[in-house]
Point group: C2
């Protein structure tokens, strides 16, 4: 078994690859088999182990992503979420690789927003507003930069220090961009063509009434019923509402579950999943005044797409 750490994966596999590999998988889903993920509680609160297997019959490769959630880790300067992906060659039955899953998970989640932005946002979108500047934010941002002619980046975070950290990191790699930290969310919302939310907030992080026509919103932070970062009053106003995976959203996306319960927006009112958006031209925004929303919780087949893509690139010249 070969072991590829985060550094190796970062060198071999980038956001453009992830976007391309996920969209390629959408055209080849017939041979994909996944099982319900397993969750075992390993301590207090959210402390747990998650196991998400998925296989690709046509490629005769299978993966399982193994993720630990250790809520007390930030106190010890370690990440809360740590993933590893085991790749099995189904032709020979051999377990061929262990690939660090933490960067790949951030990258695939970024890629999902990137695909949504590519089809839903205005083509000339120039300003992106990032609400939440924690661990997932950088890959979310670069995925949007990959697909739209962004020039200006607005950052908002409750703890301003973290926004400063992200700003520094952005400018290190992307010095041509205008990066601004804003003190209030409304400034960000009213000036952004794309709003990208990545928080674990239990309350809406923006006010739906302040969202201007033509805005596209990506919501990737809420992944539990008690998390509700998107103001769900935006949903009935939206021209298009796309979910990455309807089954996952029904179980995990707090603000959508609440909207469904309160009758603000029923699950069945959604316009399609990310696969349909990618494959089907009719799900794109109607016009430049439309508001569009993408909500994402993740699914094992997205991990499959990026893990196999990374595996192929990591082993191509061996």
């Amino acid at each position: 078994m070969q072991v590829f750490n985060e550094e190796a994966v970062k060198n071999a596999y980038h956001i453009g690859d992830a976007i391309q590999d996920i969209e390629a998988l959408f055209k080849d889903m017939e041979g994909v088999r996944q099982a319900q993920r397993i969750v075992i509680s390993t301590g207090e609160g959210a402390k747990s182990m998650l196991y998400m297997p998925c296989i690709h019959l046509n490629k005769q490769l299978g993966i399982i992503k193994i993720t630990s959630i250790t809520p007390e880790n930030p106190d010890h300067h370690r990440p809360t979420t740590q993933g590893t992906i085991i790749v099995t060659d189904l032709k020979t039955g051999e377990h061929v690789a262990s690939i660090d899953g933490s960067y790949l998970t951030r990258l695939r989640t970024g890629a999902l927003s990137g695909i949504a932005t590519k089809y839903l946002s205005r083509e000339n979108a120039q300003t992106i507003g990032m609400i939440g500047t924690g661990g997932m934010a950088f890959e979310q941002l670069i995925a949007n930069l990959e697909v739209r002619p962004i020039q200006r980046i607005l950052l908002y975070n409750q703890t301003k220090d973290k926004a400063e950290d992200l700003k520094a990191r952005i400018l290190k790699t992307y010095s041509d961009y205008e990066v601004e930290i804003v003190d209030d969310v409304e400034t960000l919302v009213t000036q952004s063509d794309i709003i990208n939310c990545q928080t674990s907030s239990a309350e809406p992080v923006f006010d739906a009434d302040t969202v201007k026509p033509g805005t596209h919103i990506n919501g990737i932070g809420s992944y539990r019923p008690d998390m509700k970062e998107i103001d769900n009053r935006i949903l009935p106003k939206a021209d298009k509402v796309i979910f990455d995976d309807i089954e996952g959203v029904k179980k995990e996306a707090g603000e959508i579950i609440e909207a469904n319960e309160k009758g603000i927006f029923k699950f069945e009112d959604y316009d399609g999943d990310l696969k349909s958006l990618s494959l089907n031209g009719t799900l794109q925004r109607s016009n430049d005044e439309s508001i569009t929303v993408f909500k994402c919780v993740g699914a094992a087949y997205f991990d499959l797409a990026v893990a196999l893509g990374a595996y192929e690139r990591l082993t191509k010249n061996q």
Copy 2:
């Protein structure tokens, strides 16, 4: 992540360790959490991936065993079953090791028979008969040698060449033993104090009527409802019938499922599981004339015991 291949595990971890670690876990099961295993079909027939996670709260370590079953592999001189075990440190959330799971699986299955033999067979058992001399047989044998003063080993296999292979392997390591290949099962059955079955037979591999008083039988081969190696007419004659894990047996042990359906022997007629046998002196054989039977299908917590035992030994001096 550290990778330990079969060679490394073989050097560090032996049958006596596996027996000891499984029996130690029986005394400490309160902190063990396992989930239903996941099976994904990956092709024709039995071709599949199996995922079996299990954690030990008290030790703050968790494992998942990932097993591929590739029925066409023997045609290409590769093993049908290939396993790897990923160990996660739950204190830090780090995925610390990948341990080859093929030898460990054979060893833990051997250890289960060893524990059964230790408590059920006559103390002076000197002759063991091995029915089936395939991949699992060697570790089954050495587990029995570990716990009883065996002097004579009888081998039976449908394909005699495989019996010759096993005989040569035994004599290489254990040259003091008398090893004989027999041409018919009845000879083996009537001369053995312990009968150890490890076949994938759909039919009984011996005739219950030929089993002499005082015999102990281990059945480890049947792990699917269509596999029935033990003649289940032996069950009502037995003084003690022990299952490794009742829930697994109900789902997977073909001959026991059939016995239950036909009313030959009901599931609830069993005397106890392996844990009770190990912890509770009252489940041992009544006298030297008793027939005793142990049937085993495996469970994730047995893998947990040997994987953590191996991990601790492999990393102890680092």
